[in-house]
């Protein structure tokens, strides 16, 4: 049991006086739990001076009652047994604060989502479970300490990574608000994908015409420092205080360049131009495109003849009147501090040569939607004439093939790329506008015209006579003589095969996560979803925040989206970053590590498992240093420390052990002790409740912020006290709210399994579950599965486990 010294009466003020409130929540709880009995039971628990049940504890009256009791009965700890702490913990914490009780002296027992709603038809068992849950909460609350949240100052400058339309919008919004913005773009010019598109849907605006003024604003804005042709090399620090290093690659052109283009005319080296998707050439000295910002030329050193400082060819130097060419230019590293970071790194496009049945890369007249944009663009290589590459003739029949690289479990990605349907509809209308006689076929799976004005455009396209055929071609075959194409497939609406001859086929390619996303992910300690795009902190309520404080997402870096959504998200990200910078300071939840220097042996294990690099080892002092502001609050360090030198505020070893002990005091051999992480597994269990999925009432959930907080000794203690089975549940690998802390969970559970095996114990009694917040079903079926185990476990097995792990009972 926890030691008495932790119950320092001074911290809470006098003796421990706990008030317990059992909420009926109308009939949501009272329908399956006898709340009056739970309250009567609570009154018998140690330190409880007051226990009562009421209909709606979260109502104003309910809250007023708590406030009144805190004053009148000198309560210094409060337990509310009601819904999930994920829902109302902030509400009741505020209630406590209003009554001048430190908000960290409050604890919730989740008897709705994790009790009444999942045991609707077993009032007796549900009531018993509710009592246990209250007992656990009371045991924990008695050991809670008041805590103050630390304040961290925020540097009022921002870094925007990526100069596509999202990055441009975010940078402009922040700069207009008055903050200094560093905009880093790896290409020589900002503009991104939008600069290469001809028209935008659904309004058919000229893409570059609406983007170019914004690009120019970025170039001239007094608050924006534009670092083009540059890459973020290093980011250190934490919310409000990031130190950034940017590698600025040389242009080999000085600022004196007037972009007259005389150099390019004389340059004897040519290569395909990336901006035109390789459909036009450029010289070794070139400007990416006419509207480029910064408006300058650049030398591509991969193909220039002058390498390693040897000037072999000096034609450009001679042609440049302003003498702006400098082959001696070197890369430079620029360092600065920012308070917030917006990640707007965009997306790559799918390479359709991965689908050999479509012949891209083999048949000249099979082109991608991106190549189409350059061909139909008046500033493009064909001057806006849609010509087919094989003979430069204007095609009379054109086919669009949708979902190339999207929505496929075989070829490409599982997700829908969002933009391709509307892009194709827009492109088909563009062809009709210029060459009304063209026959256009669109082969699709589903047309997704979900946005404002999208359906109108789709209707217009059909009225214009564009043929929409459901069913993607199985194959594209080229006629060798004419280079015409045969598209063969099944029309799934009419259940008949088609074989259609066209002059040109356009593959509507999907969007992919950037191939170099890993670099940014590592530098900023971000998470990615299974799709590979960056993961937001909450899909509904915090859609532009990263899980890491002070970092926000804009545009396709987070998921494929169109220009409007990218701009919307960029403004949202700028506003979110602006909120932090306007405040100028941020509070950090007091769930950071508590460090005991006397016990620390400076082994450095904690520094290795910390996902935020918030712990550093000072080799000289032989001590670790915790940077509280950088700490995410997962508690993995506390679980890792072999000497008990680290524990986590509000989730101390004593508090968690008190909960374990409360669960295992009676009938431990019939119970499942579950450790669930706040963000995925606990939320998944809540979701099972909200969905009224019924599962056996033998499970008792102990909430930790991360499954990485679950120290092996907790599991051992549960077994030592006779628990039938133990469940450790967290986020799916790769989805951890604390970047990668759950990998430590896996390692620890594997070690425990090994130990159990070696000791001749049934390792099945310890289960590991990865369940997301949306996987209530998965959680519920795991409990069913484990209940079967509980029933199988024999008295002897329990006694054996007690013996093996009884050492763990000693210290806490």
């Amino acid at each position: 049991m926890a030691e008495k010294k932790d119950l320092d009466p001074n911290e809470g003020g006098g003796e421990i006086r706990i008030g317990v409130y059992v909420c009926h929540c109308g009939l949501n709880i009272a329908g399956s739990v006898d709340c009056e009995e739970v309250a009567r039971f609570a009154a018998t628990l140690p330190h409880v001076v007051l226990a009562q049940d009421n209909r709606y504890t979260c109502s104003d009256q309910g809250q007023e009652l708590i406030k009144k009791d805190i004053k009148e009965h000198n309560l210094n700890r409060v337990v509310v047994a009601s819904c999930s702490p994920r829902l109302h913990e902030p509400t009741f914490r505020k209630t406590c604060e209003d009554a001048e009780l430190n908000k960290y002296l409050f604890e919730m027992a989740n008897i709705r989502e994790q009790c009444s709603w999942v045991h609707l038809h077993d009032r007796k068992a549900a009531t018993e479970k509710a009592k246990d849950l209250v007992k656990m909460a009371v045991a924990k609350v008695a050991l809670l300490h008041p805590a103050e949240e630390i304040e961290v100052p925020i540097t009022r400058k921002a870094l925007v990574i990526g100069g596509g339309v999202a990055g441009i919008q975010a940078a402009l919004d922040l700069a207009d608000t008055g903050y200094t913005v560093y905009l880093v773009e790896k290409e020589p010019s900002i503009g991104g994908m939008m600069a290469r598109i001809d028209k935008t849907f659904p309004t058919m605006d000229c893409s570059i015409c609406i983007l170019a003024p914004k690009m120019s604003d970025v170039g001239h804005h007094p608050n924006i420092e534009l670092l083009a042709n540059s890459q973020v090399a290093d980011v250190k620090g934490y919310i409000g205080n990031f130190h950034v290093k940017v590698l600025k690659k040389p242009l080999y052109i000085k600022k004196d360049c007037s972009a007259c283009g005389d150099c390019s005319k004389v340059c004897p080296v040519i290569a395909p131009n990336e901006f035109d998707a390789g459909l036009a050439i450029r010289h070794a000295i070139y400007t990416p495109f006419a509207q480029a910002v910064p408006s300058t030329y650049i030398i591509d050193m991969n193909i220039c003849l002058n390498k390693d400082g040897v000037i072999v060819c000096d034609k450009c130097i001679k042609a440049c009147e302003r003498q702006a060419i400098d082959f001696e230019m070197k890369s430079e590293t620029i360092e600065f501090d920012v308070g917030t970071i917006i990640v707007a790194t965009g997306a790559d496009v799918f390479d359709p040569s991965a689908l050999p049945n479509y012949g891209y890369g083999k048949y000249l007249n099979v082109i991608t939607s991106l190549e189409f944009e350059r061909l139909i663009n008046a500033g493009g290589p064909s001057g806006g004439h849609l010509i087919r590459p094989s003979d430069m003739q204007i095609p009379k029949q054109v086919a669009f093939v949708q979902c190339v690289g999207s929505r496929s479990d075989k070829n490409g990605r599982l997700y829908c790329s969002n933009v391709c349907c509307m892009n194709t509809i827009k492109d088909s209308l563009l062809i009709k506008e210029h060459w009304p006689e063209t026959e256009i076929y669109v082969f699709y799976v589903d047309i997704r015209a979900y946005g404002k004005g999208f359906e109108d455009l789709y209707t217009r396209a059909r009225k214009e006579g564009i043929l929409f055929i459901r069913g993607l071609p199985a194959e594209i075959i080229e006629d060798r003589k004419t280079h015409n194409l045969w598209l063969i497939g099944e029309n799934t609406l009419q259940k008949e095969l088609y074989k259609i001859n066209v002059d040109m086929a356009i593959l509507s390619i999907g969007l992919e996560p950037r191939k170099d996303s890993e670099i940014i992910q590592r530098l900023l300690t971000l998470s990615r979803t299974q799709d590979g795009f960056f993961m937001e902190a909450h899909p509904k309520l915090r859609p532009v925040d990263a899980a890491t404080g002070g970092i926000f997402f804009a545009g396709c870096a987070e998921a494929p989206k169109d220009i409007k959504d990218s701009v919307t998200q960029a403004s949202a990200a700028a506003a979110r970053a602006g909120i932090l910078m306007a405040k100028g300071k941020v509070t950090v939840e007091a769930i950071t590590p508590i460090f005991d220097a006397e016990k620390c042996k400076a082994c450095g294990l904690c520094t290795k498992v910390c996902p935020y690099n918030a712990i550093t080892l000072n080799k000289e002092l032989k001590q670790i240093e915790v940077i509280e502001a950088a700490c995410g609050g997962c508690g993995t360090c506390a679980a890792e420390c072999p000497f008990g030198a680290l524990t986590q505020n509000h989730f101390t070893d004593e508090q968690i052990i008190a909960q374990i002990d409360a669960v295992t005091e009676h009938d431990a051999d019939k119970k499942i002790v579950a450790f669930c992480c706040n963000w995925c597994a606990y939320a998944g269990a809540d979701f099972a409740g909200v969905s009224r999925m019924q599962y056996p009432p033998s499970v008792r959930i102990i909430r930790t912020m991360c499954s990485g907080r679950v120290a092996p000794k907790f599991v051992e203690r549960a077994f030592a006290r006779g628990a039938a089975t133990v469940l450790v549940a967290g986020c799916h690998p790769g989805d951890c709210h604390y970047i990668n802390a759950n990998y430590q969970t896996q390692k620890r559970v594997e070690r425990l399994w090994k130990k159990m095996e070696q000791q001749g114990l049934n390792k099945e009694r310890l289960q590991l579950l990865w369940a997301s917040a949306a996987e209530g079903e998965r959680f519920a079926s795991k409990i069913h599965e484990m209940q079967a185990l509980v029933e199988k476990v024999t008295r002897e097995e329990i006694e054996n486990a007690k013996k093996v792990f009884e050492k763990g009972l000693g210290g806490s």
Binding site: P268, I270, E274, L279, A280, V312, C313, D351, P389
Partner: protein, 92 residues
């Protein structure tokens, strides 16, 4: 933006790069090989023949590849090589 560039650019024939006419004064060559070594386009290689100075002068492998940078002229110690722009025929 990593888009695979595999096509011959549509305007590659329209871009006129000057055509070179390379002149080698064979007997002036002492066979140092600088022109062969430093040509960025690898237009030259050592020939089989022997000149009056008893060395192998360079020979042209592919004149079309020459971009008239003039580096061979600059590095030749014996003024034995020079390049001029080919006079334009057929109204090019």
């Amino acid at each position: 933006m990593p888009v695979r560039l595999w096509r011959t650019p549509l305007d590659s024939e329209k871009v006129k790069l000057p055509k070179a006419e390379i002149h080698i004064i064979k007997d002036q060559c002492k066979g140092c090989g600088f022109c062969i070594q430093f040509c960025p386009k690898k237009v030259l290689e050592e020939s089989e023949e022997i000149n009056v100075r008893g060395v192998h002068p360079p020979k042209i492998v592919d004149e079309d590849k020459c971009i008239i940078c003039g580096f061979c002229t600059a590095v030749c110690p014996d003024f034995a090589i020079f390049v001029i722009e080919k006079p334009c025929k057929d109204g090019c």
